[in-house]
Symmetry: C2
Subunit: 488 residues, 2 copies
């Protein structure tokens, strides 16, 4: 126990800095005066450096070695594992590469914005080339067994490998192509008049709050605001905040974003309070996090039962008369489209498969940056039968690469698939449909808490999946879900 | 310059921690979910400890000694002075006294709230006794030349002494008593029907924003929110936030609070940007800060010219028809009353004089805690002719002592008086009345920037006053202002 106490005594400062950085991050997207961004950038950078120094301090390293020798419980082992991961990152990447990345990313963000606006990939290409180069170097510094992309994947999804993901997408994509063809030719709706139905923002906000109430949002420890893009910020175990957006029409977008973020927030909030102020408090990986948001967004909110539950509430708050069937189809249109963020749950995975292939190829050198626009458009046509009219609706659509992040995208598909596994497993214990229709979400929250949330990060994602769901990510669960749901 | 660079390199971390702590403080009063207070308390305490460690680190001390030897410019000397003050505080007070204070204050806050609610001083008295004892010890540790209360005054108003303040109140209070008698017997209004006029919060918010626009609020770097009690938080030089409150009637309260906080915010914002990330960036003392808020609240917003400027704006936003004369008298009612926070600018100083006498006596032992209720009521009757019906409207009304703060109150009167000095001085350069009536506040902001704001904390408050206003605080300026304004 002495080792653990020493580790946590030092970690307390990292924890407090993380809390401050999270609040700063939340504020930057919600209430910060616009002109403050530059000053804030400096503050963040100083606090990050302080954090990094604590992570690689001899004090922490010695205490950690002591703990490593004595660690017996899963919690202690988890703490060692999570700390070692971060320390490895800070130790492996040399300071000049970090500096270079910061510099390139600062310029790349601006270049990307301009390139997207002008639909001119060549403005962004030189920066993307540098970013690819930096990521390749990172992979070398971090080390990998098989494929350099493994090192990058592991940053977002601990233990994920290129080979595994190849087999994951190989099992997922071809059958999903067949399902998509079947759905589209079956006459399943591709659009709906409710997409154009206007709402007053005030009413929509009330509707969102009402739904959050019913889902079990804990207002004493959580809040919702608005931002340009919805996100969740776990500031502390006892302060978890979400945001949503409003567009004045197509209320599905605001509502589903709210419910999606609720899923993330619940995962953060339902961690075992015993892990408070330790490195294992909170979500274990981006893929598992996304499985929680997708579970609430796709499995719950896009279900036929939820449509029944929602119909009178929508009428009450928005004055929109929509039958449960109307709502169900409106929430589940299947329409091959150009933009990932607007994709439905069936076509979404094709967008990710495309990005996975490209990132992998960029990192191992089999794809060059200059090929991207034509490659992108060709694959979009093969997968979804749509071709971007210009690069702003194609290869330039996502912000991720301009931020330097490669290896992030696959976690979206992992999450989508794991959400379907959760449904399968949960239905063995709960009458899910009936609970949703009656608006009884307590047992669902409890199931998630017990199986997934409370464990925080003490097990690596694959082990958590094995313990909670018997394995995964398992594309078959998602395919079964699609086969069962999209029957016209 | 080497010394300065080294000092600022270490100070950068203190600066970033201060920024984080300020944002956390702002958030705690505005958007924090209620149940998060305990976790946040721990975060704050960890970050404060980290800050303290940096202040007393050998690194900073060595660099500071080097700077001290080479310091030539006013800025460098100011940086040394300000850092030495904080270091002295952290070094002089032993850790166990700090711990004891934290503990007592935690309990005292709760006891005070209950005592106030039940109007029962005896519930708070034992805690106040401990707080007095702790403050006495603090004074001993900090050291003083003449009176132990000097050491406490200096924490809030650098260089202020008991003897000076005795002479300050001796010059202020007796003539002000005569003025008050004169005003009251002249028939000057003591109440006004507008005190009862209701408003819709939405309209009031629009009015506040409109007035802030006209005063020159920089929305790109500032914002306004609501909170239980209005306050200003200078998070960074480029992020200054104010709050206000709403009561549904008596719009003067919300508007004057907004303008008061604007004065604080402008002081923070108009510091010389060259001082950014140094210890001399921002206001120099509570008294000078209060002079800025009072200047905008009392000298500007309670002027006859402002009433003319405001009258059509109030009509437009609140639908309230009030002539300039109506507004002027409504904003300047003189009414002896029980509560400091509701006092007008004439009677306000009596409330402060009373608290000054009591604090001084508690610290030097000439007054005992148990005497306070009767002493309070007796002095209230002498000064203002009103006697609190119970202690919640008397000795229990202010939160300050329950937070452990003694020596803070006098800065309110210093600010009130200095605001009048600024008026006197400014009128030699500007046609103040005319500018206010036309709503041209730019030259006023510029005058304040040039004379006071831009200097940040490089000069101690008394030196700043000497340089900017030829001296002070000078009660005569305030008495002249009162004599000139309150003529019926």
């Amino acid at each position: 126990m002495a080792g653990l106490e020493k580790v946590l005594e030092i970690y307390e400062q990292i924890w407090a800095l993380n809390y401050a950085l999270a609040l700063i991050g939340w504020d930057s997207e919600t209430y910060m005066p616009e002109g403050s961004a530059k000053e804030r950038g400096e503050v963040t950078s100083v606090l990050e450096t302080m954090k990094q120094r604590l992570y690689i301090s001899q004090n922490l390293l010695s205490a950690l070695e002591e703990l490593e020798e004595s660690a017996e419980s899963d919690v202690e082992k988890g703490i060692v594992r999570v700390l070692r991961r971060t320390i490895k990152y800070y130790t492996a990447i040399p300071a000049d590469l970090v500096k270079k990345e910061e510099k390139v990313v600062n310029e790349a963000k601006i270049a990307w914005r301009r390139a997207k606006k002008e639909a001119n990939f060549s403005l962004f290409a030189p920066y993307l080339e540098e970013i690819v180069e930096i990521n390749r170097k990172k992979a070398e510094y971090l080390g990998y067994e098989d494929h350099p992309y493994d090192a990058l994947l592991d940053l977002y999804e601990e233990g994920a490998t290129t080979r595994e993901l190849e087999s994951f997408f190989d099992s997922l994509i071809p059958p999903l192509e067949r399902e998509l063809k079947r759905i589209l030719s079956s006459g399943w709706p591709q659009d709906h008049p409710l997409e154009e139905a206007p709402y007053r923002e005030m009413d929509m906000e009330t509707l969102n709050r009402e739904i959050l109430n019913l889902l079990g949002f804990d207002w004493g420890l959580m809040r919702i605001d608005r931002s340009a893009h919805p996100f969740t910020e776990g500031i502390g175990l006892y302060d978890v905040r979400i945001t949503t957006w409003y567009h004045g029409k197509d209320f599905r977008r605001s509502l589903l974003a709210t419910i999606h973020e609720f899923g993330h927030a619940l995962y953060e909030r339902q961690c075992d309070p015993k892990f408070w102020k330790t490195p294992v408090c909170g979500g274990v990986s981006l893929g598992i996090h996304e499985s929680q948001s997708r579970f609430w967004e796709n499995i719950i909110a896009r279900s036929r039962a939820f449509a029944s539950f929602l119909s009178p509430i929508v009428k009450h708050h928005l004055g929109i008369e929509a039958s449960p069937d109307d709502l169900f189809y409106y929430f589940n249109l299947v329409r091959p489209s150009l933009l990932r963020v607007e994709a439905d749950e069936v076509t979404y995975n094709f967008h990710i498969a495309l990005r996975f292939e490209i990132e992998k190829g960029l990192i191992d050198g089999s794809i060059e940056v200059k090929e991207l626009p034509s490659l992108w458009n060709q694959r979009m046509e093969e997968y979804l039968g749509v071709v971007p009219p210009d690069d702003s609706l194609g290869v330039l659509q996502d912000i991720h690469w301009s931020l330097g992040a490669m290896g992030y995208f696959p976690t979206y598909s992992i999450g989508t698939v794991v959400a379907a596994q959760i449904k399968e497993k949960m239905e063995k214990d709960l009458d899910l449909e009936n609970l949703i229709e009656k608006g009884e979400f307590g047992p669902i929250r409890e199931w998630l808490r017990e199986r997934i949330h409370r464990w925080g990060a003490i097990y690596p994602p694959k082990e958590l999946l094995r313990r909670s769901l018997g394995g995964g990510p398992d594309p078959e669960a998602f395919l079964n879900y699609v086969r069962g749901k999209y029957k016209w």
